[in-house]
């Protein structure tokens, strides 16, 4: 099982995403932003960081990189893609996911271990979880507030495309960054493309993270791909 991890100039959590892939039992394959080449991988992770310095808007420049020209059609054809933090921002800029990520409500960068609720446990990246399961995963971002128009938000909720939510007693104030409807992550209609602001790759081992709750994202896709392989 080969899972690609893209390095853009300014990617920071690419080594961590690769480590998470290894922990999940798959082989991480480095992909380079300037190559028109996905190297035949079975899935792709767009890691956290500040691609191209996040100048202009987060993810706005990365969206036009050569590797994205290959990734967009592959994702539309069903390739599992996970965008974490900056990766989520890139997926939105590339219109593989709707909406946008905006400045945190408090206008400051936030590093915090957040409780998430799994809302959709049937995507390629969350099938190993159970609906309603609580996860403890680090959030670390300055522009992490998910925003979209009411119609899109309604549709995301109605069609089960909200994948993870910030958990809290009061749904109105649950999001530490002011995300609309406490949305932490969403997926496309097919469920193969998932983006989220918190960092599951930093919660794969209690030694270096708040928990190992994030490992499920990576084992989920490995299991899904193994199943697809067996059927094929």
């Amino acid at each position: 099982m080969r899972i690609g991890v893209v390095t853009f100039p300014g990617s920071l959590d690419d080594t961590d995403a690769s480590r998470a892939v290894r922990y999940a039992g798959a082989d991480p394959v480095p992909l380079w932003h300037a190559d028109h080449d996905l190297r035949g991988v079975d899935a792709v992770i767009l890691p956290g960081g500040f691609s191209y310095g996040d100048y202009l808007r987060c993810g706005a420049i990365a969206r036009f990189s050569p590797v994205m020209a290959e990734l967009v059609p592959a994702a539309k054809a069903g390739l599992p893609v996970l965008g974490i933090c900056n990766g989520f921002q890139i997926l939105c800029e590339a219109h593989l996911l709707p909406g946008a990520l905006t400045r945190n409500a408090g206008l400051r960068f936030i590093t915090r271990d957040v409780r998430l609720t799994v809302a959709n446990a049937s995507t390629a990246w969350t099938a190993g979880y159970t609906p309603g399961q609580q996860l403890l995963i680090p959030l670390k971002s300055g522009e992490g507030a998910y925003a979209a128009d009411q119609e899109t938000l309604d549709e995301l909720e109605r069609t089960g495309r909200v994948v993870v939510c910030y958990a809290g007693a009061d749904p109105g104030s649950a999001a530490p960054n002011g995300a609309a409807r406490a949305i932490a992550g969403i997926c496309n209609e097919a469920g193969n493309v998932v983006g989220l602001m918190p960092h599951p790759e930093h919660a794969i081992d209690p030694l270096t993270g708040p928990s190992a709750d994030g490992l499920g994202f990576f084992t989920s896709v490995v299991t899904a791909l193994a199943g697809a392989g067996a059927r094929g």
Partner: protein, 751 residues
């Protein structure tokens, strides 16, 4: 001065007046330069000498004292490179080497807090990179004026956002540091940034230009007018009393940072190292190209020819002097063999880093620079790299006797349980002791995935090797109040505390870095403080058997005639044999035995209690006891290795009371303790060489045997558990109340 101020013009116009004083040189220094050159310097040469001979670059006032820090044979046994290199390098075993250093960016951070602090991070990271290491973490030791002062509300959020912006975008975890407040820093905050890097032994790089004919390459950002004269104007002069006015006038001296460019530069350099394309490397920091060219050539074959016209500029109107002095960020200089230049360029292209050959190494012992066809610099580089050395007059401060005589003994002490309870809550909610999450939540401590412990733990702990569990621990400490009362003992107490903090994680302390923040060296009292501090550090490190691997001196930290408290900030590096055996500061399990290690005396000179409750500073700081520190550290390290500890937290500011409260809050569980002796002394004394630990349940006999072996005095205090911190027969505080007091302070001040 004219564009065409070549060496010929200079020789022909000896009487031409030159602005040496504006550039921070004394009349004597100017005459010395004329003597070296046998003529007046050109404008470019004057600029070059002025920055190289600045206090910041030359250490001219501190050098005679810093010689004390040279390691002896025992201390040097783990060193691969020492003082004098960009940063010292320590062998940590398994083929790994670690380099770390702490550096000040005090004055820029006062003038423009966000960029000043940001570029402080950038500068120290390039120092570490220049040694051949991959930078893996940063820390920050910050000191500001009173937390509720108007200007602190400008400076602190700006400094924190600058560190957050630069460090987060660069992808380096921020694993700890300090935050302290005192009126003495109101006009002169301290922003000290530490970076640590890791390499394999064979990756160590030299900052030398050797091999005549080798090319000198400038790569990274373009050179602009930012930070011109930062080293001489900002870092080596005192701000007047004019406050904002003088700060504004100096704003163009502050550099502007681009962490994205730095990230590319880091990856680019590491790939250049890995492919063996570099003969010598130097970062560009203070004094920019002037410093890099003189130091590379002074450290190598002694000669270099540079064409200044080839330096890529952001502003084409820059003069040679400005090009030399510019402190534009994110630049490095490499010495590259001619046959490697194309491969070098290819790696730079991959990372979108501009690389330009600006000169070559020569064997003629002369640093020569040309510009528009004329020779504007022609100097023996060692004369610029080895600046003047001053024996500044020193005098014990006249007020010190009175200060030491004004002991805290007569201050009113809390007498009963309610008074002790209220003292605890007042201290816990004071800005120095309160929860620092408002600051640390803006820093990414997760990136790179190897952070095992970070703030608010006693020390930061990083995993270095995933297979073996080898790791490193780091802590920085300083206490200006102690040092004001006794700079020798105060510095040793800072060393003791950083040493102890590193040990609390289960690591063995192995090396020391330091950032010496003091007032004006022209004040004999300040020079005495500096000399005492260095003597204290040297003696302390010799006693502990660990080397000082490098550091930084920041002088002129004063407002008008008033210097800051002498504030040496000491960083200690430790080696952890297996980070999976880490120990945290929080009570991590119920029903664990709580033990106080070390001996408590009635010691309140310079204490948090005297400062917060009585605004008093006087007497003597606590006694230093390195033998006790070493036994305590050895016990904790051994006990951690055996898995006998469920928590370990050092005692420092605020004594046992604050340590117990922090262990409860960090672990999310209460404690029930009985105090030995006088409850006030037991709770708030700041005696050194102490820690409060909890023993892994059912392992008490093993711990007790180990404790006896290391001869560490111990008092069993009680057990963990419950929802209150209960001091038997004295007071009880619910954890919720402790948390409210502890967490509320900084958000209430800074929003």
């Amino acid at each position: 001065m004219s564009d065409k101020d070549t060496i010929e013009v200079a020789a022909a116009t000896p009487e031409q007046p030159q602005p040496f004083e504006e550039l921070g040189l004394t009349k004597g220094e100017y005459e010395k330069i004329r003597g070296i050159l046998g003529r007046r310097p050109t404008a470019a040469e004057l600029a070059l000498y002025s920055v190289m001979w600045s206090e910041h670059c030359s250490y001219k006032s501190s050098k005679v004292h810093l010689r004390r820090l040279a390691p002896n044979e025992e201390q040097a046994r783990m060193l691969l490179a020492g003082i004098g290199a960009n940063a010292g390098v320590v062998d940590i075993g398994q083929g790994y080497a670690v380099t770390f250093k702490i550096e000040s960016h005090n004055h820029p951070s006062f003038v423009e807090p966000h960029q000043g602090a940001a570029t402080g991070v950038g500068g120290i990271v390039r120092d570490i990179l220049a040694m051949g290491a991959r930078p893996v973490a940063v820390m920050d030791a910050l000191r500001f004026g009173p937390a509720d002062a108007h200007d602190t509300a400008r400076v602190l959020p700006g400094v924190v956002s600058g560190i957050s912006f630069y460090g987060n975008c660069l992808g380096l975890p921020n694993i700890g540091g300090e935050l302290a407040f005192d009126p003495c820093y109101a006009g002169n905050p301290l922003v000290n940034a530490l970076c640590v890097g890791v390499m394999r032994h064979e990756d160590l790089k030299a900052a030398t230009a050797t091999g005549a004919g080798n090319k000198v390459v400038l790569f990274g950002s373009r050179t602009g007018p930012d930070g011109v004269g930062g080293a001489s104007v900002l870092a080596s002069a005192t701000f007047g009393d004019e406050g904002d006015g003088s700060a504004r006038a100096k704003r163009p001296s502050v550099q502007v940072g681009d962490p994205f460019m730095e990230k590319l530069l880091v990856e680019c350099c590491l790939e250049l190292y890995a492919t063996g394309l570099i003969e010598g490397i130097q970062d560009l920091g203070a004094a920019g190209i002037a410093c890099a060219t003189t130091e590379l050539s002074a450290g190598g074959d002694g000669g270099m020819r540079v064409t200044l016209d080839d330096v890529p500029l952001r502003d084409p109107s820059l003069t040679p002097a400005e090009i030399l002095m510019s402190e534009s960020q994110e630049r490095m200089m490499a010495v590259v063999r001619p046959d490697n230049i194309e491969a070098f360029r290819q790696v730079c292209r991959k990372w979108d880093v501009e690389a330009i050959v600006i000169g070559e190494v020569t064997a003629d012992g002369t640093l020569t620079m040309t510009w528009r066809g004329g020779t504007v610099v022609q100097i023996p580089p060692r004369t610029a790299a080895d600046g003047p050395v001053y024996q500044r007059p020193m005098a014990r401060p006249s007020r010190l006797d009175a200060l030491q005589a004004a002991t805290p003994d007569s201050l009113e002490r809390p007498k009963d349980g309610p008074a002790l309870r209220s003292t605890l809550l007042t201290l816990l909610g004071s800005p120095d002791e309160a929860d620092k999450s408002w600051v640390t939540a803006q820093y990414d401590h997760y990136v790179r995935g190897d952070t095992v412990l970070a703030m608010p733990e006693d020390g930061g702990l990083l995993r270095i090797d995933e297979q073996t569990g080898l790791g490193i621990a780091l802590a920085t400490d300083g206490n200006g109040r102690y040092c004001r009362l006794d700079p020798y003992a105060g510095t040793q107490l800072a060393l003791s505390e950083a040493y102890r903090n590193v040990a609390m994680t289960g690591a063995t302390p192995v090396a020391v870095t330091n950032c010496l923040n003091f007032g004006s060296p022209e004040d004999p009292a300040v020079m005495w403080q500096l000399a005492e501090a260095v003597r204290g550090l040297a003696d302390g490190c010799a006693t502990l058997g660990i080397p000082v691997t490098g550091g930084n001196v920041s002088l002129y930290n004063q407002t008008g005639e008033n210097p800051i408290h002498p504030t040496p900030v000491i960083g200690v590096l430790g080696v952890h044999t297996d980070v999976r055996r880490r120990v945290g500061a929080g009570f991590s399990t119920d029903n664990a035995q709580i033990v106080l290690l070390g001996e408590t005396q009635d010691e309140f000179g310079g204490s948090a209690w005297a400062h917060v409750i009585h605004e008093h500073l006087g007497g003597r700081p606590p006694a230093v006891n390195f033998d006790a520190e070493r036994r305590l550290a050895d016990l904790i390290t051994a006990a951690a290795r055996e898995g006998l500890l469920s928590s370990a937290h050092d005692l420092s500011d605020g004594g046992l009371a604050i340590a117990l409260a922090e262990s409860c809050l960090r672990g999310g569980r209460g404690a029930r303790v009985t105090l030995p002796g006088d409850p006030f002394t037991a709770l708030f004394s700041e005696s050194a060489a102490r820690a409060v630990i909890s023993v892994t349940p059912s392992r008490e006999p093993e711990f007790e045997a180990l404790r006896a072996k290391y001869e560490v005095p111990a008092t069993v205090l009680g057990t963990t558990g419950g929802n209150t911190l209960t001091v038997e027969a004295t007071f009880e505080v619910p954890l919720d109340e402790l948390r409210r007091v502890w967490e509320g302070t900084l958000p209430a001040l800074f929003g």
